[in-house]
Subunit: 187 residues, 2 copies
């Protein structure tokens, strides 16, 4: 099987508690949204593959009301695979800032456009910061309930730091641009 990260996200989550593909999707969306994303198109085929390889086992929960759930549980083999991956150095971060691409070419656009891109970037980061802060507040009182919570808190703190830095940059960059454009006009 390919050495795909999707596999390890699934194994890691199942390492915490057994769950379905649907649960995995929700878990990633709510708890890892800042630094990761998964679609059903990745999750369901991965679950099948992992089961075929004996790294997880499945159990169908028949519901009288609503659709059946397929709940997966990690096996010893799966746990070993996860731990091997955890011990390997992480690949470097990958970022795609489309708005920075537009700002980079800002001399080929109208100044108001560049300011708009910066403002929208700021707004996106304010939303992230808000989400992260709420998440942090909800985690703090239950920090001792599970060892895992502590590590989740650390990932939230990075999200907070980076979005705060981004917001500050946006304010600063807006001012710089306005001053710069003002100068241009005078000349």
């Amino acid at each position: 099987m390919k050495d795909n990260n999707t596999k390890y996200v699934v194994l890691g989550l199942l390492g915490h508690t057994p769950m379905s593909g649907y649960d995995i999707k929700k878990s990633v969306a709510t708890r890892m949204s800042y630094f990761w994303d998964l679609s059903y198109g990745q999750i369901y085929p991965t679950l099948k593959e992992l089961e075929k390889n004996g790294q997880i086992t499945k159990k169908v929960e028949i519901k009288e009301h609503g659709p059946n759930r397929i709940v997966y549980t990690i096996t010893d083999k799966g746990l070993k695979e996860l731990q091997t991956w955890l011990a390997k150095p992480a690949k470097k971060e990958v970022h795609k800032y489309e708005f920075l691409l537009k700002l980079f070419f800002g001399d080929q656009a109208y100044p108001e456009l560049n300011l708009k891109h910066i403002q929208e970037f700021k707004a996106r980061n304010q939303k992230i910061l808000q989400t992260m802060t709420l998440f942090e507040e909800s985690l703090k009182p239950i920090l001792n309930e599970s060892e895992g919570h502590y590590y989740i808190l650390l990932t939230i703190l990075l999200g907070k730091s980076i979005s705060q830095a981004s917001i500050q940059w946006a304010d600063n960059a807006s001012k710089m641009l306005q001053d710069h454009v003002g100068k241009e006009v005078k000349v």
Copy 2:
């Protein structure tokens, strides 16, 4: 043609000055490394497509020594296409922090491993910060030579802010983890 960002990066760079596929690759790698990346596998096919659509024109430079260069120049049609894209709102940022994935599942690994991932993340960011700072220093004295330089400076400043925030988080997270692990042992 597909609405692929590669296309706009190429158009944007050719909007500054005519250049070859090889130059584009180098330009992205040195000046946009923080927030974007392109491979030859994307660049060369895109150049062909753009030429076919009349958005750029090509001119072969025959060299006596060394390989020929194919230099591309943007056309009015290409410039219009670029400006239309610049005016559209940017898509939200995409991040892949593999190390955060590993840290998120940190309760399933040895504590030293988690500290190692954080240290390596810090090291990566120190390197970025250094590169960005050097770039900033080289740009400042020639800021008035071209309007474009100002926008490039803004993108560098965001890279600096985020890597600084990341380094601070790493120091803080290391301390927090060490304290946390210390407490565990006592119990």
